[in-house]
């Protein structure tokens, strides 16, 4: 059980972390929150947005504030799996040659998979084991990844030519998917001010230790959620299935597959982490609301009609949210 002291310590650490990120990143509160939630839940997150919104800067800032090792992988069509996970190299030591494993960029604490949809599915799938099992298998050997570990991926919704959309199995492994919104006018002014001043933008120093992150993860797991809200989450996920009786009409019409049990887990865990970041003692309905769309919008698979008509998954999720009530 987490002690009151540890709880206080973790809370303060993440408050510092949020302040450090906010000193660099203008706006994008929901995106930052999603990244922190993924970190707290031992998950991964994918950010989708047009180029130039600061996705990479956000991840770099997060990594810097956490004091963790950061690796950035720019996904391109010719990127090979070995480029990510590493490979065995022949090395000569004391006159003897032998294979030595050279770890790839995936061996870090914070991995930025930039424009992940530009790599081939073969390369994309090289991340699967690292994202889910936190291990990497090369040449018959399995190497564990160091905790805390989180993969933060980005993808560009435009310029879809030459891209390889992530397969459902892989995209389901991302705890959250956050849409990076375009900044508001005030935020834009602030962004230009910060990036054009004589003083260059500086990545913050580490404000949180790895131990504090791991303690915060334990606290998130312990954070209580009412049984009624747990049931509510399950009903929300059920309502995303077109064959379920509680599904809204548009879900029945446009959705091929709804959320998986992993979606419900992501929703509960994400709500817990959201409540933790808010300093709450228990999960509230507002926490579920905050992570509902990020946890589900990449897990709904539209049918042909939905794709053809350009239906927004977010709008469908809004229907589900309005239809399903807690009690």
């Amino acid at each position: 059980m987490i002690s009151e002291t540890d709880l206080e310590r973790t809370h303060s650490a993440f408050e510092r972390l949020q302040q450090a990120i906010a000193s660099v990143i203008v706006g994008h509160r929901a995106t930052v929150r999603s990244a922190l939630i993924a970190l707290l839940c031992r998950g991964n997150a994918i950010f989708e947005g047009v180029p130039g919104l600061g996705k990479t800067l956000l991840v770099r800032t997060l990594a810097g504030a956490l004091g963790l090792r950061f690796a950035r992988i720019q996904f391109t069509p010719d990127l090979m799996p070995a480029d990510i996970i590493g490979t065995d190299l022949i090395t000569e030591e004391n006159g003897r040659r032998r294979f030595t494993f050279s770890p790839g960029p995936v061996f870090a604490n914070i991995v930025l998979a930039d424009e992940i949809n530009r790599a081939t599915p073969k390369t994309q799938s090289a991340l699967l084991e690292a994202m889910e099992e936190r291990t990497v298998s090369v040449g018959g050997r399995t190497y564990p990844l160091e905790e805390p570990y989180v993969v933060l991926a980005t993808q560009n919704p435009i310029e879809m030519e030459g891209t390889y959309p992530l397969p459902e199995a892989q995209i389901d492994r991302f705890l959250l998917k956050a849409n990076v919104e375009f900044p508001t006018l005030d935020e834009m002014i602030e962004i230009t001010a910060r990036n054009t001043e004589p003083t260059p933008l500086r990545i913050p120093d580490p404000v949180v230790t790895a131990d504090e992150i791991l303690a915060a993860r334990r606290a998130v797991r312990e954070l209580p959620i009412a049984a009624g809200l747990r049931e509510y989450v399950s009903r929300l996920v059920f309502a995303t299935h077109p064959n379920d009786g509680s599904a809204p009409p548009r879900i029945r019409e446009y959705v091929e597959y709804g959320g998986s049990p992993r979606a419900a887990i992501a929703l509960v865990l994400g709500a817990k982490a959201h409540a933790f970041l808010d300093g709450a003692s228990n999960v509230r309905r507002s926490d579920i609301s905050a992570v509902f769309r990020p946890a589900l919008n990449h897990r709904l698979v539209l049918n042909f009609k939905g794709d053809a008509e350009g239906v927004s998954v977010g709008d469908l999720l809004d229907d589900v949210w309005e239809r399903v009530t807690p009690v």
Binding site: M1, P224, A226, G228, E231
Partner: protein, 492 residues
């Protein structure tokens, strides 16, 4: 310190009450509406007032059923996590209560539990709003209670048209003519000695079924008193709008019958009036017609007759009364109950309605079909014989039909001889009970003079010819013979 356990007990109690109420309301409403419907039917749908115990039953049964429903509702399981979450939403507690319940249920003593407990210093002041009794339940319960009260009021308050009818009316409405006669006899017993024969030639024929042979006094014993009593009953029924609902034609016919009976009584009285004048029994018999509506002239003459102090004056007044009554009576043929020849082709609604043969006769005549035989139209006066030669079941009586219905047949049965009385008398023939298809056209005794032994000779040959014409099986002739033997030799 927030006693969360006590709070949970309070929540559970209220939830059980709400569950009970949610089941009580519809059950009470439905059962009360059913009770109200029953009360309405019991009070307004039936002539008798429902017994007192039904009030208790009607009022108590819905309450009992509602109580059972309430108890059954209370026994429903209580989902505390859901209820607590509902309370959280109602009071804006951000799921603190339900989360605390979850933490306590797991037995974890975490920092989060302490934080929640410290946040909840006590039960939320408006926590009952999370478990409200819905307004619809209140409305349904109110409807149920109102229905229950209405049902009790309907059963308890006197309602229009409920209760016994006035004493002066109910006996007339409910009694049959035969029982009316019996009642009157009980009030004013008939004299011990048999009054002078004042039999009515034509019995009253009403819409009510005629009394059975056992209940009905013998024709010979029915005097003017009985005829008048039946007439009074008939008149009362007509005035009061009894279910029998006699028509004006029927009342006029009854009046005529009564006048006819009075005339015959007066004729007999004149024949046997001795030097002593009117006896007390004669006076009592003469007073009875005064009880019914009479023309002023007749009433005055009747009063004069009652005051007559010598036989000569009495005979004079009797002649005067007979003259008055004779002026009001129809011709002899009608007086004998025989419809005029023209009447056989014109439907008489009264006779059609009462005479089982009349409708058949009339229809046959209207259709132009021969009465009885069916081969030729009936001749004048062949109506009764020819038609009544047809059996009631539609079979054609060959002998009767040929004898009377055919224009070539001798007109032996065309018109009953004078003094014959037409009587629609049910006869018991054989083991099958009552038969109404035979009509005794005449009794050849009325003009006969009693012999020394008081017996009246009967013309059996004529009677046999009548029975033959009526197609009465010869095996049953003895029944008819025994009947007439009995009534002509003082039997009954």
């Amino acid at each position: 310190m927030f006693d969360f356990s006590q709070f949970l007990i309070d929540v559970e109690r209220r939830a059980r009450r709400v569950h009970g109420a949610s089941l009580l309301a519809p059950v009470l409403c439905v059962s009360s509406l059913a009770a109200l419907a029953y009360a309405g039917i019991a009070v307004y749908g039936t002539p008798r007032r429902p017994p007192l115990w039904t009030i208790g039953l009607v009022a108590g049964l819905p309450l009992l059923v509602a109580l059972i429903a309430y108890l059954a509702g209370r026994r429903r399981s209580v989902d505390l996590p859901t209820l607590l979450l509902r309370i959280d939403d109602a009071v804006g507690a951000d799921a603190a209560l339900s989360s605390l319940f979850e933490v306590r249920r797991r037995g974890a003593d975490s920092a989060f539990r302490r934080r929640i407990e410290s946040r909840l210093s006590g039960p939320p002041p408006r926590w009952r709003e999370g478990l409200p009794v819905r307004a619809s339940l209140v409305a349904v319960t109110a409807i149920g209670v109102a229905s229950l009260l209405a049902a009790a009021a309907v059963l308890m308050l006197p309602a229009a048209g409920v209760g016994p009818l006035p004493a002066a009316v109910s006996p007339i409405v409910t009694e049959s003519p035969s029982s009316s006669t019996t009642e009157r006899d009980r009030v004013a017993p008939r004299p011990a000695a048999a009054p002078p024969r004042m039999e009515s030639d034509v019995p009253l024929q009403g819409d009510d079924p005629p009394p059975s042979e056992a209940d009905r006094p013998p024709l010979d014993d029915r005097g003017l008193r009985d005829v008048l009593a039946e007439l009074e009953t008939a008149t009362s029924d007509a005035v009061l709008g009894s279910p029998t609902d006699r028509s004006p034609e029927r009342l006029a016919a009854d009046e005529q019958r009564a006048d006819r009976a009075l005339s015959e009584f007066l004729e007999q009285l004149r024949d046997r009036l001795g030097a002593d004048g009117l006896s007390e029994e004669d006076r009592r018999a003469l007073q009875e017609p005064l009880g019914r509506p009479l023309p002023p002239q007749t009433r005055a003459a009747l009063n004069d007759l009652l005051r007559a102090d010598n036989p000569e004056r009495a005979k004079e007044l009797i002649d005067r009364l007979l003259g008055i009554l004779g002026g009001t009576l129809p011709p002899e043929a009608e007086a004998l109950g025989e419809p005029p020849a023209s009447a056989s082709s014109e439907s008489d609604p009264v006779d059609d309605a009462t005479d089982p043969f009349a409708a058949f006769e009339t229809d046959s005549h209207r259709d132009g079909e021969p009465a009885g035989h069916g081969s030729s139209p009936p001749s004048d006066g062949a109506d009764a014989t020819g038609d009544r030669g047809d059996r009631a079941d539609g079979a054609v009586d060959e002998s009767g039909g040929n004898a009377a219905g055919s224009p070539t047949a001798p007109d032996v049965e065309e018109r009953p001889p004078a003094g014959f009385v037409e009587e629609d008398a049910p006869a018991t023939i054989g083991p099958d009970g009552e038969f109404r298809e035979f009509l005794t056209r005449g009794v050849p005794i009325e003009t006969a003079t009693p012999g020394a032994d008081g017996a009246i000779p009967v013309d059996y040959e004529r009677m046999e010819s009548i029975l033959r014409a009526r197609a009465v099986p010869p095996a049953d002739w003895n029944v008819v013979r025994d009947y007439f033997d009995a009534i002509t030799k003082g039997g009954s």
